[in-house]
Structure formats: C-alpha cells, structure tokens
Amino acid sequence: MMGSGIIFGQVSHTYRPPRGRPVLALDGVSLEVKEREFVALLGPSGCGKSTLLYLLGGFLPCEAGSISVGGQPVMGPGPDRGVVFQNFALFPWKTVRQNVLYGLEKQRMPKAERERRAQELIDLVHLSGFEDSYPSQLSGGMKQRVAIARTLAIDPKTLLMDEPFGALDAQTRTLMHEELLAIMRRTPKTVVFVTHDVREAVYLADRVAVMTARPGRVKEIVDTRPPDGARTEFIHTREYTEKVDYLWNLVRDEAIRAQEERD
C-alpha cells in the first residue's frame, strides 16, 4: 500500500503577476513530513506558506525542485490529498448534504453507501439537522465544519489545511481545534497545516516549521509534541508556554522583516 509521507526537495517558486515583475515566493524549501504526522507551516503573511501548500495540492505546477507523496511525485490535484481553505470554498448552490456528497459522487461510490457515509460525516462534525441548509444560512464555524466533512468524506490520506480557522472568532476557533484533534484521533492522517497563529500551531502540530519572510525558506523546525501525548492538557503546561514564546520570537523577526519590506 502506498504511504503518505511527504518530501519537499529544494522547492522554489516564482510568482508571475499579470502586470509587474516576477517575485520569488519560495527559495529552496526542503521539508519532510512523516506518515500520520501533523506539521504546521508557520510564518508571516506573504512568506509563501500557502504557495507551498498549493504546490503540494497540485494546484500550481512545481517548476523547481520536487514534491512527492508516498514516493510518487505530485502531478496534479487528487483525492489522496484533501484540502480545507480559509474561505471554506463550499459550493453555495449545494446544500450541506449535497456538498458532503460531492466528493463521494466523484469517487463513484454506490448511492446507498454514499448517503450513509455523508450522514456519518455530517454527524461527526455535529451538523445533524442542517443537512438541507445552504451554506449562506450557516455561521462561519458551521461552514468550515461542512468543508471538513466534505474533505474527510473521501477519506484522503493527507489533509492540507490553509489557515482553516483564520476567518473564525476566537471561541469558535478554540472549539474547532478540539474537534479537529478529536477527529484526528479517530481517523489519523498526515496533516500539513498553514497558519500564522503561533498558539494554534503549537497546540495542534507535532512539529512546527517556521518560515522566513519572502522569499520563503524553512528557518527552523521545532518539535511541539506534548511530552505525555495528551494534547488537551498540554495547553495548561509550562512547556506549552515556553514553546509558544520560543516560536513567537522566531516568527517575530520575520514578521518585522516582512513588514519593513512592505513599507
């Protein structure tokens, strides 16, 4: 069976805007994500962390360097790598149920089975009773839960998350963190999670890769696994606070540099 370990080898990417000069977004990024590992990409905005995720998703062509998943080079998007975007990216003309069903239809799952599977996922993200609602009738947190259900429905080995909780209020975000961890305990996956929120990265990830301001490189990789593996308790420990402080200092320098460059 094919694995889901990810290897970025010397990945560079140049962004070419329709007008203006090309910008080097990523400069020789190398990173390895082991199977079922949760890695956060942390960095200031504009550091290319989302670009790295889009390259892994196969949405942008990888022009320099190599990206492989389970030993296979990434050639384009595929159902082995599910994506969750910050803006939810739900089909607004489809109901909750139809959104969750979409991937299952594309996978040609028999009707009875996919109906059952969709309901299972809707229950998992606590949206029972909203099956026939349209996304426009839901709150931000609910929308993101639908997006997660849609992605998890096709059971991808790898989950790519692009600041998935960035558009949510603080309380909802905390609840979503707990839910995501609970889901990951039930169905472990390889996760690459893009964020600029240090606490979120430390709380969720096994390792955090800090990226530099543009052009993005991996500055340092920090192990953030809680010593006893108990993540929900981790947040109250001194180790957690220390890791957050340590990472914040790393990111801070880059955020300042990124800001200076903009000004």
């Binding site: 889009y54 196969g58 990216a89 607004p92 003309w93 594309k106």
Partner: protein, 248 residues
C-alpha cells in the same frame, strides 16, 4: 394583502382614470388620444376577430427564436472566452467593437441580408440580445472563486466536471441577470423590426393601424405589447429567484 396590492397599483388606476377623463373633457384631442374605454373596446374587437392572436403568435415566434438563439450561442461563447485565451483573443475585439452600437441599427442590415420575412427579425433580435448574454457569461465565469475549482479537482473532478459542476453554477447568477437585460432588449428590437417592414406581428399591427388612423385599436396593441413585456419580466424574475434560492 388586498389593500397593499390596491395601494401599490393606485397610481396606475389614477392614470387610467385620467386617460378616460382627459380626452372626454377635450383636454387632449380625442383623435390623438382616444379615451381608455374606446381603446378597451377596440382591444376586445381585435381579440374577437383574431388580429391580435395571429400577429401575437408570429411576434412570439420571432421573439422566441431570436432570444433563444442568443442564449444558446451567447452562454457557451462567453464561458469559452473566459476559459480559453485563444477564444478570448479572437472574440473579444469583435464583442467590444459591437458593444456601443445601437441595437436598432442592425435591423436594416439584417433586412438587406435576410429579406423582409421572419429571418431578418429573428436575426436582429438574436444579434441584439447576444452581447449582454456573452458579457454576463464571460464575467460570471471569470469571477469564479479558484478555491472552488481546486476543491472540486481534489475531490476527483476532471476538467469537464469543473466546467459543468463549478464554473456554470458559479456564473449562473450573473448569466441569469444578463438574460434579463436581453429579455428587455428583445422586446424593443422585436417591435422596432416589425414596425419597420413586414406584414405580420404586433409591431406591424401598430404601424398598420396607425397609418390607417385607427388610433383606438393602435393604442390597444401598444398596451398589449407593454403588458406582455411587463409580465415577461415578472415571470422571468420569479423564475430567477426560484433558481437562485441558495443565495440568501
């Protein structure tokens, strides 16, 4: 509910009363504006002897094929222009050049090419409605959120699935709004083309009755055309809201 409808259409009622009274009191010349009761009587007459019906049917045929053709050609063309650079490069300059042209200027050209029959009228309506349909399909497809496309692709959708299942539904609100503009234009060009030449249609009936000095009947046809335009727009709006329930 009954009262609100009454209040909403009160201005129309007042206008109708004014229309009846003004010619009777000779505030306006009744030969230029016959009272509403005379117009209504003429309308019943046109309905009874079948003139309204036969001309209405022939107008409907022109309108249906003109507008339908514009939609059938315009939507795919607009979507293709948005999706494929080559199509855009070829079609865009033509579309942009035709955009500011007055739609009715096409009618004589179409008559020259296609003759005095239904063909030139259908073509005039079709050409006039084509631009708003193309532009709405183009803008709607261009504005598609790329994360929607990416989500579909990572669910296993191929290029064709993306076109039918993401691009078209995403562009639909804009396309339907463009078609609504086209419906309004179609009525203008329909009547204008039939006024100009021809032996059939409601526009022809207006000019025939006008030239013959049968003004009460002429006004009856004018009102009929206005009412048809109004109800077509209402019905379309209803259809549009039903189709786009997911928006609110």
């Amino acid at each position: 509910m009954g009262t609100t409808v009454f209040v909403r259409y009160l201005p129309l009622l007042l206008l109708a009363i004014l229309w009846e009274i003004a010619p009777r009191l000779h505030l306006v010349d009744p030969s230029e504006l016959p009272p509403l009761s005379a117009v209504s009587k003429a309308w019943v007459g046109l309905l009874m002897d079948g003139d309204l019906w036969t001309n209405g049917v022939s107008s409907f045929v022109n309108w249906f094929f003109g507008l339908g053709g514009a939609i059938l050609v315009g939507v795919p063309l607009g979507v293709m222009m948005a999706r494929f650079q080559v199509v855009d490069d070829v079609a865009s300059p033509v579309v942009k050049a035709l955009y500011p042209m007055p739609k009715s200027a096409l009618i004589p050209v179409m008559i020259l090419w296609l003759g005095l029959g239904a063909g030139s009228k259908i073509a005039s309506i079709g050409m006039s409605c084509l631009l708003p349909v193309i532009l709405s399909a183009y803008n709607g497809s261009r504005g598609v959120d790329h994360t929607l496309v990416w989500s579909a692709r990572s669910c296993g959708a191929n290029e064709r699935d993306v076109l039918w299942e993401v691009i078209l539904p995403s562009a639909l609100p804009e396309i339907l709004a463009g078609i609504r503009n086209a419906v309004a234009i179609s009525f203008i060009v329909l009547v204008a083309s039939e006024l100009l030449v021809g032996q059939r249609g409601l526009g022809y009936l207006i000019s025939f009755l006008g030239e013959g000095g049968v003004y009460d009947a002429m006004f009856a046809v004018v009102i009929t055309v206005s009412a048809l335009g109004f109800f077509a727009d209402r019905a379309y709006l209803y259809f549009m809201r039903r189709t786009l329930v997911w928006r609110e």
